[in-house]
Symmetry: C2
Subunit: 667 residues, 2 copies
């Protein structure tokens, strides 16, 4: 029965709608996290009711405010609000099917599953760091297109977990340094974590911590609406990023369980739900919302729709409107292809002997010269990653018109910020670090892949070829660990031409991140015969085919292709016919036709060569095939000494090839 | 020619010896990082000359002070000091062979490569977080054995890179919360990073930041010895962990390059080396140290030797001496085996149906009941990881006598702290989180593996079986990524008996970390027939062998063994003879004899079953074999629905088995 009390709808009612939908959905799912949405309902209501600028009818409107629920387990807060605002894909059926197969209401907010979800959250701290990227992108786009077209805020709700995670430090430091004044973070200070009171594990003075990072900080009662509103106003008025510490009661409204860690991650149970209804004076059936409450929430949507219309008018009138649109459109793949093809012509002719990290820098001159919205950066290894092209200018706190970001020694923060920049729209980010430190940003790489965000990771110093810095800096298992990840294109080019092709693939990707694996050491250009075709896009291809058939097929990637070629020459001297395959990308090869794959692999025995572990090579190798690579961590010595020490040499390949040919004869 | 000026040796001379050895070694290697050792030479000299308590003749003396060079690229600081102190394995030949193959002087300090290196550093921030574990272990051992036997400090040198990395936040917050007063961190405040000035990427007020975390903080001129000494005295007197901000000049002494980022990571070059010698008044040949300088440094060693002797006397006299020794000895494997075997008897009889995370908790009752120095913990998922056994008591800032650590929502900090606890000696740590968050602590897991530190990672919620929390929380590629890592034993047990066996392996490991992969969902006990032998230690073993030969072999791990068994039953009904192999650990299986491996795999076609990606399964499968698992990220829904949705079912296994049998017939 639908009981609608004849009260005037105030923000308390609007917030209680969030609380009720949350506890009802979690109850229906028999799983979920009611604590955070109920505790944050007042903060969220004030934020949306009085400030948020979004239009549910145009959920991708570029100048909308961004809302990030960094405490992603509180997903029902987002779903409830979207339902109340009238997002067309968030009907009550979605709420009733919270956390069920095929619903848009996943356990944690998933980008792309429902309108208005700006980023996937759940792994703690990621939301904050991604929001920093969004807020940075906003300022960069503002510097390019002015206040008329770009002028919005990024709001983040974060819990104690988000603020304990290390990534939050990297994000907060970077945001404070850059002075991202349009970033406003609400800390859900409920003093509860899963294990119990926050006293169990932290004594951090968060206010002082954020101040140390250069933030504007305020503290409010998270259930005092006027105080919340005043704080948001002050935050918006300040030039610095703002943190608003909101003292809240987790599970606010639940009379017996509120304030306790028991309300964090489990349904309240029938009794407590009933008691909560009673305590809140919310006497409606489950999932039942009074029309007056809907109407109040829809006013927020209406305000946003008006703002969007006004913005559209400004864009129409702006001389920069066309360029603004172009920034948001797909990459001009034809123009890029023409530029890359011309460049490949020159490369084939010049045949430079350069490290692929250097070749990447050369290719970036083309990419950055062709794509106006390419944005580079590095986690403090600019000169080593070769990520800055000649015309790029560094972003500074005073000038966001540049196109190169000094992310600092913050691989994790960089990767998450790149996700945020890409998700914001308008810009295409890439960023560099050493490949060994892919581990430092792996959780954010995983989110790039899960969300399908086309960022590019430039990862150099890709093997024992790094040399003297030793095993902590030498990837061995890293490439395999990245190839294991769904929806990530890993490319390890072998020369300058393949590197150019790899950049073309990365720069035109639409829903897959690309990770470039690049050498420190110089490599000869073997692609001396120009092809218009992007051979790297095939994943693997034959670069040496004996005329009269194969005795053996040598398959290598990156810096080891040179070794395979040497070995093939040596084998030829012994009358052994070796084909050589360059295999820059396993993921791209796996997508080729069975016929093509069979042709590349051939029927002769095979030897794989890669200065890394064998795991993942089953794409090319059978159990009986040979592999010349690593099976332990590396060591500290000059690169050439290490290759000899670990037996990754043409001689070793020749020996393995002869062994496999011999074994095949007797099988 | 050996020119020894007749000057009295003061700390400046002692420090200049570090500077000279550093620039000479980097020059000889033609690679390395002179900037940090030269900048920190004064701080390090004061610390060692006036405070450090170490005995080079007994480098593992348990009550020694710990020194951690978190800015590991400054490894020459450590090697130079060890040489000057007279560590017998650090003769001048080692310095001349800096960064060369087989030398002890690796590019970054490597634990186990040379005496006195307390932990491997280089990946930035790890040293700080590992030192927190050491300082925590010191307090825990002190609580058990008193000031007479345990009373030492942990000193850390850290740079801007260490303090920018997220892991530093986790470590600093944890140390401040626990009030680890014996931890003293020196910040090398040289205002330079690789990209240039720190102004490029950070505006952090580090003093305020550490104060916010509850630390005692001082600022000094890092080239004023008396000020440094006074600060160390004050730090030692304070109950809180201490940070001493040392304003230094990077590459101090180099007249033209000092103070610039050019001196960070490359040789100074002959000219600047000569100019530095001139500027320092250090007119000795390369690698030549005046005897008087050696003598001064050897006094430090002498003071340490005296302290050690005095400590040895106290231990001899202490009633706790025997127990103290026992804590430092290898685990009593026989006692543990007896307890585990008795427990396995009961399990085989009772055949409980429990999640392996619950089975892990049950096994921990045995492990923790048998090993007095086992120390548990979780990154705020105690109730979900089931890591706390009944008698365990939580560590608090006021009482370190407990044996359970609330690490907070800090997976990375936890893993590094566990490394530190294990490296400190005396305690055996384990700690839990969700398997998906292995990514958050992967850099520290890698260091566990690289150093060969026997910590145990308890990683639960190991697949889509996690259910409604969705793809951010569901490992898919995680197991493969961990199996790729050298020297890490990954074990995914399938029932309570295998879980007990896995714990026996983990608890007795000496130079390999173990990572337990555990289910959220209940699994039946299939090991209902007791065996004394630890079958899990074989890595894989046959649990169902058809009497008259195999038509197919089904190989599964963890929660999927149940599915394999169901499928075998269903196949039997169709007259198809299926063997079933449980394969809890690929690494342990790879170490078995070829005969054993061949016997387990069998000659029939095979189907692998694991709710994860296929990568890594080449250990068991040929290309033509079947695999029932995942090839994409997961989804949000109840576990049973997800297993059906992704086709990881007995029916799918049956279909794959029949297909492979059919294909074999026609091949």
């Amino acid at each position: 029965m639908n009981v609608q009390p004849p009260v005037q709808v105030d923000e308390t009612q609007m917030a209680n709608a969030i609380r009720a939908l949350t506890m009802d959905a979690v109850e229906a799912a028999k799983s979920g996290h009611p604590g955070a949405p109920m505790g944050l309902a007042d903060v969220a209501t004030v934020l949306f009711n009085r400030f948020m600028k979004i239009d549910p009818k145009d959920h991708l409107w570029p100048d909308r405010d961004r809302f990030v629920m960094s405490a992603g387990h509180g997903s029902m807060l987002v779903y409830a609000i979207h339902h109340l605002l009238g997002y067309e894909d968030m009907d009550v059926g979605q709420l009733r099917n919270f956390r069920q197969l095929g619903s848009r209401t996943a356990g944690h907010p998933e980008y792309g599953h429902a309108m208005g979800i700006e980023t996937t959250t759940g792994p703690l701290g990621q939301g904050i760091a991604t929001a920093v990227g969004m807020a940075l992108a906003e300022r960069m786009m503002n510097a390019r297109f002015g206040d008329d077209l770009v002028d919005h805020h990024t709001y983040v709700l974060a819990g104690d977990g988000c603020l304990m995670e290390g990534i939050s430090h990297e994000a907060i430091d970077l945001a404070g340094h850059l002075g991202l004044g349009r970033l406003i973070l609400f800390w859900d200070d409920n003093r509860i974590t899963i294990d119990g009171s926050t006293d169990l594990s932290t004594s951090m003075d968060q206010v002082k911590r954020f101040e140390a990072a250069g933030w504007h900080v305020q503290s409010v009662d998270g259930h005092n609406n006027e105080a919340i509103a005043k704080a948001i106003e002050a935050a918006r008025a300040d030039d610095r990023p703002s943190m608003i510490a909101c003292r809240t009661v987790i599970g606010k409204g639940a009379p017996n369980m509120g304030g306790s860690h028991k309300v964090h991650g489990a349904p309240l149970g029938k009794m407590e739900v009933a008691a909560t209804r009673e305590a809140l004076g919310w006497l409606h059936e489950p999932f039942d919302i009074p029309e007056a409450v809907y109407a109040a929430w829809r006013q927020v949507a209406q305000r946003g729709a008006d703002a969007r219309r006004s913005w559209a008018g400004r864009k129409m009138a702006s001389p920069k409107g066309g360029a603004f649109n172009a920034f948001h459109e797909a990459v001009d793949a034809r123009a890029l292809n023409a530029a890359i093809t011309a460049y490949k012509h020159r490369l084939s002719h010049d045949a430079p002997k350069v490290a692929t990290r250097k070749a990447s820098e050369m290719a970036l001159e083309i990419v950055n010269g062709t794509l106006p919205n390419s944005v580079g950066g590095s986690a403090d290894l600019t000169g080593s990653n070769n990520t800055k092209s000649k015309t790029q200018r560094s972003i500074t706190p005073d000038d966001f018109s540049g196109d190169y970001i000094h992310y600092g020694i913050r691989e994790h923060g960089m990767a998450a910020a790149m996700n945020g920049i890409a998700l914001h729209g308008g810009l295409r980010p890439y960023g560099g670090t050493f490949l060994a430190f892919a581990d430092y940003c792996r959780p954010s790489i995983r989110l790039s892949a899960l969300m399908g965000v086309p960022v590019t990771y430039v990862m150099t110093h890709d093997s024992i070829g790094l040399g003297e810095d030793g095993p902590t800096h030498q990837p061995v298992e890293t490439i395999a660990s990245l190839r294991a990840m769904p929806n990530l294109t890993v490319i390890r080019p072998a020369d300058a031409v393949e590197t150019a092709e790899a950049w073309e693939i990365a720069a035109t990707a639409t829903d897959t991140p690309t990770l470039l694996v690049l050498s420190r050491q110089d490599l000869p250009t073997f692609r001396t015969k120009h092809t218009d075709a992007n051979m790297t896009a095939r994943g693997a291809y034959v670069i040496r085919e004996p005329k009269s058939g194969r005795d053996i097929t040598l398959i290598a990637t990156g810096s080891e292709v040179e070794i395979a070629q040497e070995a093939a020459e040596a084998l030829a001297e012994d009358g052994i016919r070796a084909a050589v395959v360059s295999a820059p990308s396993f993921e791209l090869f796996a997508r080729q036709s069975a016929d093509y794959r069979c042709m590349v692999r051939g029927c002769a025995p095979r030897v794989g060569i890669e200065a890394a572990v064998r795991q993942g090579w089953e794409l090319f190798l059978e159990r009986g095939d040979g592999f010349v690579g690593m099976s332990s961590f590396g060591a500290s010595a000059p690169a050439a000494a290490l290759y000899r020490h670990f037996g990754i040499t043409a001689e070793a390949v020749v020996a393995s090839a002869k062994d496999k040919i011999e074994k095949r004869k007797h099988s």
